[in-house]
C-alpha cells in the first residue's frame, strides 16, 4: 500500500501498543539542551535509571549562553549553574556534549543538521518545540516535555499517538523579495495558529523542491507556530548533497546504502493524505506580523485588518493584540519606527541568512538610534561567516556581532528588549513578553526585511528599499 513518509517512518519506529492505547515509539535521535533536561536527569537519578542509548543522545547549550561573554563563570549565577549541570549530566551519563569550547556549540536545531546528526527517515525528539526544524531532512521530528525527555533518556522510546498528515503544496514561482520565512508566515496566516493541531505537515510542490536545505529548515522550524507538531519535506538530491561529508554521516559504501534507504522513505506518489492544501506561490508577499501570535500577519503591502472584517472568533485576540502592540486597525505596518533589529535564532540564524543580510548591508548603515544585533546560530556558522568576512560587513554597518546562542529570541540570557521597544526580528515568536520585556513588541520577518528595517529605521518593504 502506498504510504506517506510520516507513515513509513512511524511504522519503522513503532515498537508496540501500550496498555493505554498509545504507541511506544522508538526515538532514533535525542537532542537535549540545558533548559529542559536537568529535571529529567534528576528523575533518572531519583529512580536509579541510566541513559539507555547514550550514543543516540546529543547535547548542546543555547538558551542561557550570554552571547557577549565567553568566560565562565557567567555573570548570571543561574545561567552558570545550568551550563554546569548539563556538563555534569553529560559526563555522568556518557552523552556527547557540544560544549562551548568545542567549536560546535550552538542552537540545538542548527547543530544537529550541521553535524549531520539529523538524517532522513529518523525519529528525532528534543525538549524544545522547534525540533520540527529537523523535518526539513525527511525526519519525523517533534518537541517533547521534560517527563518525556526522561522517558527517552531511560528507554529511547516514548508514548505517542499517531498524527494525521496534511500535504501543503506550494507551486509556481516565488515573487521577488519573497523568502522561505514569508512562505511559512503566509501558510500560518492562512491556516491559523492552531490549524495544524493533530497534524504533521508535509510541505511539497515546486517551491519546496527548489529550496535549499537551510530554507527548508526555516519553513519546518515554524510548523509548530501553525499548531503542527512536526513538518517535513521529502528527502531528495538537495538533502543528500547537504549531508554528504558531514561528521556524523555514513561514509564510503555505507553512504550509498544510506542514500538508497533514505530515498525509499519519501512519500509514495499515490499515497493518501488526510488533508491537502494548495497554495499559489505568486500569492505570497514579504510578510510581517502585526500582533502577538505568528498568525496575526499581513503581506507588507496590506494594512492591519479592520476588527469588523475579522471572523468572530478572532476579534477578541486581535483587539488585545493591537492594544499591546500600540497599533491601530487599518494602518499600514510600513513606516513604524523600530528600536531594535535581531538577526538570528533557529529560524534564521544560519549561514545563508547571514550571508543574505550582509549582502544587503554592504555599504549601508543602520539607522540612527537603532540597536541592531546579529547572532550566528552556532559556532560553526560564526566561523564560516568570519572566514568570509561577514562580521566586518555587519560591524561596519553598525550591527553588533555576537557569539552563538538563542540570544534575543527569548528572555533567558542578557539579550532583551527594554520597555516597549519595537523589534524587527527574524525569530519565530512574537508572543507578549517573549523577547524579555513584558511590554516589548516583536514584529517577525525575514532577514531581508529585517535588514531593510535596520537601514531605514522603520518597518519597510525590502523590495522598495533595495530596488528588487
Amino acid at each position: 500500500m502506498a504510504k506517506s513518509l510520516y507513515e513509513k517512518v512511524w511504522d519503522a519506529h513503532a515498537v508496540r501498543q501500550l496498555p493505554n492505547g498509545a504507541t511506544q515509539l522508538l526515538i532514533g535521535t535525542h537532542l537535549i539542551h540545558e533548559v529542559t533536561s536537568p529535571q529529567a536527569f534528576g528523575m533518572l537519578r531519583d529512580r536509579g535509571l541510566t541513559v539507555k542509548y547514550p550514543q543516540r543522545t546529543f547535547a548542546t547549550v543555547d538558551h542561557i549562553v550570554p552571547t557577549d561573554e565567553a568566560q565562565e563563570p557567567y555573570s548570571d549565577p543561574l545561567a552558570d549553574a545550568m551550563i554546569k549541570a548539563l556538563r555534569q549530566n553529560c559526563k555522568d551519563f556518557g552523552v556527547t556534549f557540544f560544549d562551548t569550547d568545542t567549536g560546535k556549540q550552538g542552537v540545538v536545531h542548527i547543530v544537529g543538521p550541521e553535524q549531520g546528526i539529523t538524517q532522513p527517515g529518523m525519529t528525532i525528539a528534543c525538549g524544545d518545540s522547534h525540533t520540527s526544524t529537523h523535518g526539513a531532512f525527511g525526519a519525523i521530528a517533534f518537541g517533547i516535555g521534560t517527563s518525556q525527555v526522561r522517558d527517552v533518556l531511560a528507554t529511547q522510546t516514548m508514548a505517542m499517538s499517531k498524527l494525521k498528515v496534511r500535504r501543503i503544496n506550494v507551486d509556481g514561482a516565488l515573487r521577488k523579495g519573497v523568502r522561505a520565512k514569508d512562505v511559512i508566515l503566509h501558510i500560518i496566516m492562512k491556516l491559523g495558529v492552531n490549524g495544524g493541531t493533530g497534524y504533521a505537515y508535509e510541505y511539497a510542490g515546486s517551491v519546496f523542491d527548489a529550496m535549499t536545505m537551510e530554507e527548508r529548515m526555516t519553513v519546518c522550524n515554524m510548523s509548530i507556530e501553525g499548531g503542527a507538531r512536526c513538518g517535513y519535506v521529502n528527502p531528495d538530491e538537495t538533502t543528500f548533497n547537504y549531508l554528504k561529508g558531514r561528521p556524523y554521516c555514513p561514509k564510503g559504501a555505507a553512504w550509498d546504502e544510506a542514500v538508497e534507504k533514505w530515498r525509499g522513505y519519501a512519500s509514495d506518489p499515490d499515497c493518501q493524505y488526510d488533508d491537502v492544501v494548495n497554495i499559489n506561490a505568486a500569492d505570497i508577499e514579504p510578510t510581517v506580523t502585526w500582533g502577538v501570535t505568528p498568525g496575526q500577519a499581513i503581506p507588507i503591502s496590506a494594512n492591519i485588518p479592520m476588527i469588523a472584517d475579522l471572523p468572530e472568533d478572532q476579534k477578541g485576540t486581535a483587539v488585545e493584540a493591537l492594544e499591546y502592540m500600540q497599533f491601530n486597525e487599518g494602518e499600514s505596518m510600513k513606516g513604524k519606527k523600530i528600536d531594535v533589529v535581531f538577526v538570528g535564532s533557529c529560524t534564521n540564524g544560519r549561514f545563508s541568512d547571514l550571508e543574505e543580510a550582509a549582502g544587503y548591508l554592504k555599504g549601508r548603515k543602520v539607522a540612527n538610534g537603532v540597536k541592531a544585533i546579529c547572532v550566528p546560530g552556532s559556532q560553526v556558522v560564526s566561523m564560516i561567516a568570519e572566514q568570509k568576512g561577514l562580521h566586518k560587513i555587519f560591524m561596519e554597518a553598525g550591527f553588533e556581532w555576537r557569539g552563538a546562542g538563542c540570544s534575543m529570541c527569548l528572555a533567558m540570557n542578557p539579550d532583551k528588549l527594554v520597555g516597549d521597544q519595537l523589534c524587527a526580528s527574524t525569530s519565530n515568536r512574537n508572543f507578549k513578553g517573549r523577547q524579555g520585556s513584558i511590554t516589548g513588541r516583536t514584529v517577525l520577518m525575514s532577514p531581508l526585511m529585517a535588514v531593510a528595517a535596520a537601514v531605514t529605521g522603520e518597518i519597510s518593504d525590502a523590495r522598495e528599499v533595495f530596488g528588487l
Partner: protein, 199 residues
C-alpha cells in the same frame, strides 16, 4: 509503580479569558533558569498577574474570590508555543488539578496528561456558560468527569472531549507511561536492531 486512576476532578474554577494563551504567558522564560521544577507555582502567569513594576494587576488570578480555585477555564488553543513542561508544572504547583478550555496545543496537552492533569475541551458556548457561572458565584463546585466526558457545575452538565489514548491513560492510572516503556525493553532492542543508524 502504580498510579491512581483519574476518573474525575472536582473543585472551584477560575476563568482566564483569551485564546492562544501561550506557554511563555503561563510561565515566562526568565523563571525557567532553574534545574528543578520546585517553586514554579508562584510564577505561574506572572506577567499576566503583575505590571512591569511588579504591582498586582486586576485579574481573576489575583482576585481573592478565586483564591481556592483548582480548575482553570480558558479559551481556544490553550498552551500553544514552547514545549516547556514548566508550564503544566507551574499550573500543578500552583494547586490546579484540571483545565477546561475550548482546545489545546498538542505538546501542552500531552505534557499535562503525563502529569495527571486532565485537560478537557468544551464548546465556546459551554465555556462561556462555565465562565459566567464561576464569575457569578466563585464557590460553585465544578466536576470534570473524564469517565463520562462531561463537566458538571451548579446543576448543569455540558459535554466535553479528550483524545482517546490520553483519556484511557488517565482512567487506567497509566498516565505516566515510564513503567510500561521500561517493560518493553526487549521489543525496543529488536526494533532498534533493524535500523542501521541505531547501531
Amino acid at each position: 509503580m502504580s498510579l491512581p486512576a483519574i476518573k474525575q476532578v472536582t473543585g472551584k474554577g477560575v476563568y482566564i479569558p483569551g485564546d492562544d494563551i501561550d506557554t511563555d504567558r503561563i510561565i515566562p522564560a526568565r523563571f525557567m533558569k532553574c534545574v528543578t521544577f520546585d517553586g514554579l507555582g508562584e510564577f505561574m502567569f506572572y506577567d499576566v498577574r503583575h505590571d512591569p513594576q511588579g504591582n498586582k494587576r486586576k485579574h481573576n488570578l489575583n482576585d481573592p474570590r478565586f483564591a481556592e480555585a483548582s480548575i482553570i477555564i480558558s479559551g481556544n488553543n490553550f498552551g500553544c508555543g514552547s514545549s516547556r513542561e514548566h508550564a503544566p508544572q507551574a499550573i500543578a504547583k500552583a494547586g490546579f488539578k484540571a483545565v477546561i478550555a475550548e482546545g489545546y496545543a498538542e505538546i501542552f496537552f500531552g505534557n499535562s496528561t503525563q502529569l495527571g492533569i486532565p485537560c478537557v475541551a468544551v464548546s465556546a458556548a459551554d465555556r462561556a456558560k462555565l465562565a459566567a457561572a464561576v464569575e457569578a458565584d466563585p464557590s460553585v463546585e465544578i466536576t470534570v468527569d473524564v469517565d463520562k466526558l462531561e463537566v458538571r457545575f451548579g446543576g448543569q452538565s455540558v459535554p466535553c472531549t479528550m483524545r482517546e489514548a490520553n483519556r484511557d491513560a488517565l482512567l487506567s492510572g497509566r498516565w505516566d507511561p515510564i513503567s510500561d516503556l521500561i517493560a518493553g525493553a526487549e521489543e525496543v532492542a529488536a526494533v532498534a536492531a533493524k535500523l542501521t543508524y541505531m547501531q
